[in-house]
């Protein structure tokens, strides 16, 4: 769409985006045109209604956890190279890329020659670099969690504190798993204790 420069200025003025001398000059031009002033008031009323009804900013749920997830994902990525400080021309800035290109060409050429001799490295099974400490988020008020690795139990342990107790009247005697175990108990020679597939 080709917009007349005056139309552009008018649109900017209607949205209160003109400033300084441009604004002053345009105000002079538009002084005797009440329809434009009415349109500007209309635009202001509309923006005011929208801004009052629809929030421009809304904290995401679990905001701390939100940040944690972002940080975790960043840590799992290769580090962002620090932007080097600008410096003047140096002969290295010209020859280094050239040398790098030559090196790459040589490497490809050598790689091609030695492809049959170089054993393949299987990277598919290589472990990812994973941060050790987990992220813990406990949205319930009064609940907190401690995490540690237990070499004695060969496990990771999370201790939850402040969790509401389960009422004693609650009964778990008929869980589906236990029903299955009892059916299996009917088979001669099976030890129910060992059937529990415990970690």
């Amino acid at each position: 769409m080709n917009t007349n420069p005056d139309e552009t200025k008018l649109a900017l003025w209607l949205e209160d985006e003109l400033k300084g001398e441009e604004l002053a000059a345009f105000e002079q031009w538009v002084a005797g045109q009440p329809e434009h002033h009415a349109a500007r008031e209309e635009a202001r009323r509309w923006r005011s209604m929208m801004a009052a009804a629809v929030p421009a900013s809304e904290e995401p749920p679990y905001p701390e956890f939100f940040n944690h997830r972002v940080t975790r994902a960043i840590r799992e990525e290769p580090p962002v190279p620090a932007v080097p400080a600008k410096r003047g021309f140096h002969w290295q800035s010209f020859f280094m890329p050239l040398a790098a290109c030559a090196g790459m060409v040589l490497a490809f050429w050598l790689g091609g020659k030695n492809a049959s001799l170089t054993p393949e490295i299987d990277v598919a099974g290589a472990p990812r670099a994973i941060p050790v400490e987990p992220i813990l988020y406990t949205p319930e008020k009064g609940v907190d969690a401690e995490w540690f690795t237990s070499s004695k139990a060969s496990a990771t342990v999370i201790v939850l504190n402040g969790v509401a107790a389960i009422p004693d009247a609650t009964d778990f005697s008929e869980t589906a798993f236990l029903r299955e175990l009892r059916e299996m108990d009917a088979t001669a020679g099976m030890n129910p204790g060992n059937q529990a597939m415990e970690p």
Partner: protein, 168 residues
């Protein structure tokens, strides 16, 4: 005629190749997660109910080795094994039909060997209690020391379920 038959055969072959691709790769099962709930107490083990199962000696010793999980008695209340999917969440309900303890998990990336990273949530009494990322290894489960119940505490164990062997 021959040419038409050839074209039809090619189309059929193309359809056969495309058919698997039409399935959602996110639903591929990349492992299994087992969630087990124990009742741990220094008091009367019968408090867990007459139908709770004894726990193997190995498991009891393992739990006792860790001071924070050390109790005199352990009983098995329930267990549930669910698939770990590539791009979808799964829910385990070890005390089904009771919804008192539920675990939601979702894979974070592909498992590497006998190791998997999960997004994991523990729900108790239908409230989200903890959300965490958990790294599970074949021989290294996650134990969560949970709420009190009948004079003891629940321990919720999350582990990679071993591959089922033929005939077992």
């Amino acid at each position: 005629m021959k040419r038409r038959a050839c074209i039809i055969a090619c189309l059929a072959a193309a359809c056969a190749c495309l058919a698997p691709a039409a399935e959602d790769p996110g639903k591929t099962e990349i492992g299994k997660i087992r969630v087990t709930v124990y009742h741990a107490t220094d008091g009367d083990p019968q408090a867990a109910g007459g139908k709770a199962q004894p726990v193997s000696k190995e498991t009891a010793e393992r739990l006792r080795r860790e001071e924070r999980l050390r109790f005199k008695h352990y009983r098995l209340l329930g267990s549930d094994t669910q698939p770990l999917l590539r791009s979808y969440e799964s829910w385990a309900e070890p005390l089904k039909p009771s919804g008192e303890v539920m675990v939601r998990f979702e894979a974070q990336g592909q498992p590497a060997g006998q190791s998997a990273m999960l997004d994991l949530e523990l729900w108790l009494a239908r409230k989200k209690i903890i959300k965490t990322d958990a790294r599970l290894q074949g021989d290294r489960p996650l134990f969560m020391l949970g709420p009190e119940w009948r004079g003891g505490r629940l321990i919720i164990a999350v582990a990679l379920a071993p591959e089922s062997k033929p005939g077992s």
